[in-house]
């Protein structure tokens, strides 16, 4: 019974992680940017949702939509103002991203303060089936995450812009020769990734207290996910997110929540030693 509960918790954690990681893996795969700012966008998504719901009294779902739109706009600004300059310079771009993320986080501490914030879920209560307890809001998170991931998968597979994104991922130069405007694709990719991260933040806002550094742990786990999944692969990131979610749940239950990051990074190192291209396994 405990085991079933652990698996259930793991799947809900995995769904949230998938939302974070897929944006991260897309941005890396297509643009070669290791986007450390992703965790900050997640945090801002939570704060925006809390602000519109708790302060302005708006509907929770409308607030999440707003967080999504604002997140996308932030992504566009970041790409156009900064990351564009680091095309082809992975290391410099990564170091810049670390610095930017840390500045934004420090700034958030100055603006929002260190006091935790929270928001009520529109779906309070739990479902209790034969002793298995599932928080209703968690089910909402899983449903929303699955919907978004499937939608994105369809978009990248089948739509015109999605095909253009994959073309840029495989060979930016050849894509340009085909008339694909890769700067537009870059902006689109960043917008999508940031929107997903902001939505993820908004979705978990009712489940935990919001603090300016709340994005750090999901960001770290997302890095593990994209390493295990193979950097740049959407389906790899999805399955790896489920796996890491399960590991997170098991370690939290049987050991200690603080050990999660340590254990998952150890798994990532093992993965690199044994199969450097990740689950999905195409070399980059």
């Amino acid at each position: 019974m405990l085991l079933v509960q652990v698996v259930l918790n793991g799947l809900t954690a995995g769904a949230m992680l998938a939302l974070m990681s897929i944006g991260l893996t897309l941005i890396f795969g297509i643009l070669g940017v290791v986007n450390f700012v992703h965790g900050v966008i997640f945090m801002l998504g939570a704060y925006i949702t809390i602000y519109f719901t708790a302060e302005l009294g708006m509907n929770y779902f409308v607030s999440i939509m707003l967080a999504c739109v604002l997140g996308a706009i932030l992504g566009v600004v970041l790409e156009a103002a900064f990351f564009r300059r680091f095309r082809g310079k992975v290391l410099e771009g990564a170091v810049f991203a670390v610095a930017l993320a840390l500045s934004l986080e420090a700034l958030a501490f100055e603006i929002f303060g260190g006091a935790p914030r929270g928001v009520q879920t529109p779906l309070p209560g739990v479902i209790n089936v034969a002793g298995l307890i599932v928080n209703k809001h968690r089910l909402l998170v899983v449903a929303a995450a699955l919907l978004l991931v499937l939608g994105l998968y369809w978009f990248v597979r089948s739509s015109r812009y999605g095909r253009a994104m994959r073309a840029v991922q495989q060979d930016a130069y050849a894509a340009r020769l085909q008339g694909i405007e890769d700067s537009r694709i870059a902006v689109l990719t960043f917008a999508i990734g940031a929107a997903l991260a902001a939505v993820a933040g908004g979705l978990v806002a009712p489940l935990q207290l919001a603090l300016p550094d709340m994005g750090t742990t999901p960001l770290l786990l997302a890095f593990v996910v994209i390493i295990v999944g193979g950097m740049g692969s959407i389906s790899g990131a999805f399955w790896a997110a489920v796996l890491i979610g399960l590991v997170q749940s098991a370690v939290t239950t049987f050991w200690s929540p603080q050990a999660v990051i340590g254990v998952t990074f150890f798994i990532a190192m093992l993965m690199l030693a044994l199969r450097p291209t990740g689950i999905a396994g195409h070399a980059h």
């Binding site: 170091v95 810049f96 670390v98 610095a99 500045s103 990051i261 990074f265």
Partner: protein, 590 residues
């Protein structure tokens, strides 16, 4: 052209170093404990910066050095406070433990290219911090370990100031020597072009792991000293910010320069202490500094100053325009170590990417001193064949035998050491190194292995014999006027020639040239062909040439191998091949 160091700058440099050393020694007389503590923190930071910079030269950054710093500090804390070791003795494990961890992580992770190492190194800091909080029995959990004794003989802040002063002076001199050594040039070569580096015999993996381990060991030592100085360690003192700070030292100062970590560490450490800022403000200050430097001055503060100085020295404008010299001089190319060419026998070579067969049962032979041309339409598998021969791609079947030695399972740098060198179409030269340095690396690729001390500490200017060879090669390739120009700013044709010179400098017995004349003008082609003929005449080496220009192939080669769809479809003398109907079909009938 000579390479001796001018006298005047050296004397001035020594005078400045002496003055700085005197000022540092006199400082305790003038300053109180608070200011000495500031300087001492800067010394630690400078050493951490030096340790971190080594790997940075190869183009990989570690985001985990805060973890090594913590490991060193906790090693000392646990051994002295819990097990009552002598603190001096405890510094030994403070060096060894981080070094061993770096070795265990570096060997698997540095093999992967791209940002994997950076991300995983981030994990080192995170995992170590999580262990510090969670292994309560050993580390005291979040409460940490108190009562760490000071190093015997050192009591006051002034004592520690002198210790760290000595450490930073000794360390500074050691890293100054390393900066002028063969090793630094090899690390920079790996950072510039990993493929070309291994093609001239530099082991990417071994050098990077060594740089990582040395850096981690130094970081651990400083962590250990720091623990005895503070008398107390706790996880909060080793947050991931430490890793960020260590990373910023060389990046802000300028990773390419020896003085980079000094400038960066001093800037990052002293300014917040001078203003006595709060923790969040310091974080903001450091993060904004690094972001601005990365955006505006990617070569760091020292790099920017260097550029400004160079500009004022030259007056206005960038790199001076280069003139092309008409022809290769007639000077004789120096006598090779390996006399003559080797026999290369390829039999039954197979390889496929996914479902596509890029090499299908390829067999051919090149006799010693023979010039063999390899032709075929685009996609015929010519470059894959070169990748297989030189160890960049491992064959899935078949044998490659170089003078009786099977080489099909060896890595590129080992194959080079056995006498087979290749050139590349794209990354022909190390763009950020000068012509002289490019060829010097090639010459080292020919020699015997250096001992590690020699490699790390013997100045590059003291390899008189190798330098003489470099000068001969520069002369005979007609590159004299560009000797101290960065290769990246040279015209395409000259870089192509330099690529060949690097290959020749490794004194190969088999040289594989990947499209040596592609993209050259007719005059440049004539010059290249003439150079190839001369080189071949003087050294009698075996040449394998992939090329699309038929007149070049037909004029130069003794024998031609024709490939199509990963298979050898014909081979013979140029005349035989030209008459072969199969070849006509491959080239014209489609």
């Amino acid at each position: 052209m000579r390479t001796e160091v001018a006298r005047a700058p050296r004397v001035r440099g020594l005078a400045i170093a002496g003055a700085v050393a005197l000022a540092l020694l006199a400082a305790p007389a003038a300053l109180g404990d608070y200011h000495l503590h500031m300087l001492l923190s800067a010394f630690i930071a400078i050493m951490l910066g030096f340790g971190h910079r080594l790997l940075l030269l190869t183009g990989q950054a570690s985001y985990g050095h805060g973890g090594f710093y913590a490991l060193g500090a906790y090693a000392v804390a646990i051994l002295t406070a819990t097990y009552s070791w002598n603190p001096w003795l405890a510094l030994v494990p403070a060096i060894l433990v981080p070094g061993a961890v770096a070795l265990a992580i570096g060997v698997p992770v540095l093999r992967a290219r791209g940002p994997y190492f950076f991300l995983i190194s981030f994990g080192i800091a995170v995992v170590v911090n999580s262990l510090l909080s969670n292994l309560k029995g050993l580390t005291g959990g979040n409460a940490g370990i108190m009562g760490i004794p000071r190093l015997p003989g050192l009591e006051t802040v002034t004592d520690y100031y002198f210790l760290l002063c000595a450490v930073v002076i000794v360390g500074g001199v050691a890293f100054w020597l390393i900066d002028r050594s063969r090793w630094t040039l090899e690390l920079r070569a790996i950072g510039g072009s990993p493929d070309l580096a291994s093609a001239i015999g530099i082991s990417r993996q071994r050098n990077m792991v060594l740089a990582f381990v040395v850096g981690a060991a130094i970081t651990g030592l400083l962590g250990g000293i720091f623990a005895t100085y503070m008398a107390f360690v706790a996880p909060t003192a080793f947050s991931f910010w430490i890793s960020v700070y260590i990373l910023t030292f060389s990046m802000i100062g300028g990773a390419a320069y020896w003085s980079g970590p000094i400038v960066g560490a001093t800037y990052v450490t002293l300014i917040p202490l001078l203003f006595n800022w709060s923790e969040h403000l310091v974080a903001l200050f450091v993060a904004i500094s690094i972001a601005v430097v990365m955006l505006l001055w990617p070569d760091g503060i020292v790099g920017q100053v260097d550029r400004l100085l160079a500009r004022t020295r030259r007056g206005h404008g960038g790199v001076p325009p280069v003139r092309l010299k008409a022809e290769t001089s007639a000077a004789k190319i120096s006598a090779p170590v390996h006399k003559g060419g080797a026999r290369l026998v390829v039999s039954g070579l197979n390889h496929s990417y996914g479902g596509i067969r890029t090499a299908n049962n390829i067999s051919f032979e090149a006799a010693p001193g023979e010039i063999v041309g390899i032709i075929g339409p685009n996609g015929a598998g010519k470059t894959t064949l070169f990748n297989l021969l030189s160890g960049y791609v491992r064959p899935q079947g078949g044998k490659i035998v170089l003078d009786g030695t099977e080489i099909q399972t060896l890595p590129p740098h080992r194959i080079e050491q056995l006498g087979l060198t290749r050139t590349f179409q794209a990354s022909m030269v190390f763009d950020r190194l000068t012509v002289f340095e490019n060829i010097l690396l090639g010459v080292w690729g020919a020699g015997e292995k250096a001992t590690i001390v020699e490699k790390l500490f013997r100045p590059r200017t003291r390899y008189e014999r190798d330098i003489a060879k470099v000068e001969e090669l520069i002369e005979s390739f007609g590159l004299s006027e560009f000797a101290h120009t960065p290769a990246g700013s040279l015209p395409y044709g000259i870089r192509k020639l330099l690529g060949l010179a690097i290959g020749i400098a490794t004194e190969p017995r088999v040289l594989c040239l990947d499209e040596p004349v592609a993209g050259l003008t007719d005059a440049e082609i004539d010059r290249m062909v003439e150079t190839l003929r001369k080189v071949h005449r003087e050294r009698q080496l075996t040449l394998l040439i992939v090329e699309h220009r038929m007149p070049v192939i037909m004029g130069l080669c003794d024998r031609v191998v024709v490939m199509n769809f990963g298979e050898v479809v014909a081979q013979g003398t140029p005349e035989q091949v030209q008459a072969d109907p199969v070849v006509h079909e491959v080239y014209f009938a489609r």
